[in-house]
């Protein structure tokens, strides 16, 4: 059976996580690391994917920076995205040749993990054609944005557990006007601890990817 290491990182600044991902990605490509998933939340940050339109950032970048919201570029696919505390971010560093050699399958699988977690909480979320991510009506509950080189992945998914939804007003989510962000906490009307969602995401990931998922330390993995 496939094995995937699950590495909890806690709250990490976007740039730091990006550096780490790039390092792990190149090690994985050289076969010097096993498949792994980084599980974390970010300090508030707006990131621009490869197809980003800067006009989809609604705040003035200087004012944003002053209010503690970083703006950063990312090599993942997609437009403008917000990340912040209360959002579960998973960055799988996987060699897809050991799973399915298909970008479409991979994006589907990441959405599937989020859909199963949502279903665990009794939330009926779904997919919208041409709009990757998971949705509850017009509300975006989870986002996907990935980068693949040599069939090894980085970046991944972000599931809104209980983030500050006001922060999403700083952007046009994924460049879609009229789309709004929602969260598990907002839909349930109660607090939802991130650790609990992380655990459920781990189980869902194991099922969707057909893998045994074992917690690990980043130091243990990189030596």
């Amino acid at each position: 059976m496939r094995e995937v290491r699950w590495i909890p990182l806690g709250r990490v600044r976007f740039r730091e996580a990006l550096e780490l991902q790039r390092r792990l990605h190149s090690l994985r490509r050289r076969g010097e690391l096993p498949d792994l998933v980084l599980s974390l939340e970010h300090e508030p940050v707006i990131t621009l994917g490869r197809s980003a339109d800067p006009r989809h950032i609604l705040g003035d970048p200087v004012a944003l920076q002053a209010s503690g919201v970083e703006v950063a570029e990312a090599e993942r696919g997609g437009d403008v995205t917000y990340h912040g505390p209360g959002q579960l971010v998973l960055y799988p560093i996987l060699d897809l040749r050991g799973f399915e050699r298909s970008i479409k399958w991979y994006v589907w699988a990441l959405e599937e993990v989020m859909l199963r977690v949502a279903a665990d909480y009794g939330i009926r979320a779904g997919r919208l054609p041409g709009r990757p991510g998971i949705w509850v009506g017009n509300g975006k509950l989870g986002a996907v944005g990935v980068y693949v080189r040599g069939w090894v992945t980085m970046h991944g998914l972000a599931l809104n557990v209980a983030p500050n939804l006001d922060h999403f007003r700083l952007i046009v989510p994924c460049g879609i006007h009229g789309a709004e962000a929602t969260s598990i906490a907002a839909l349930l009307g109660r607090e939802v601890p991130l650790e609990e969602v992380d655990e459920r995401a781990r189980d869902a990931f194991a099922r969707v990817f057909g893998a045994r998922v074992a917690p690990a330390d980043v130091e243990v993995v990189t030596g």
Partner: protein, 103 residues
């Protein structure tokens, strides 16, 4: 893969000689049920040296960026699908003039 003899064409001058040049295709590989991608970024300009396996372009489909690597070492000779344009898996998006003796 094919071979051309360029006689003092602008390309040949840029290649620095009028000898035979072998062009290698930069192809979008099968990505798994993906019918169309968009070329989002060329990481080199025509004329740049590239190493075999070096990232030369990025294509995107449905929130996924996929990196296209140089199949051989040489010079980027032509960009056939520019940034922002669509292409399909299997399509040739550029050509590399192979460095001699590196076949």
């Amino acid at each position: 893969m094919w071979s051309f003899r360029f006689l003092l064409t602008p390309q040949a001058i840029r290649m620095g000689s009028r000898k035979e040049v072998t062009l290698a295709d930069i192809v979008i590989p099968p990505l798994g049920e993906v019918e169309e991608v968009r070329v989002v970024r060329w990481l080199h300009e025509v004329g740049d040296e590239v190493q075999a396996g070096e990232a030369v372009a990025e294509v995107e489909s449905q929130k996924a960026t996929f990196v296209i690597e140089a199949p051989v070492a040489g010079r980027l000779f032509a960009i056939l699908v520019p940034e922002g344009k669509a292409a399909a898996p299997g399509e040739v998006i550029g050509k590399i003039a192979e460095r001699e003796g590196e076949r």
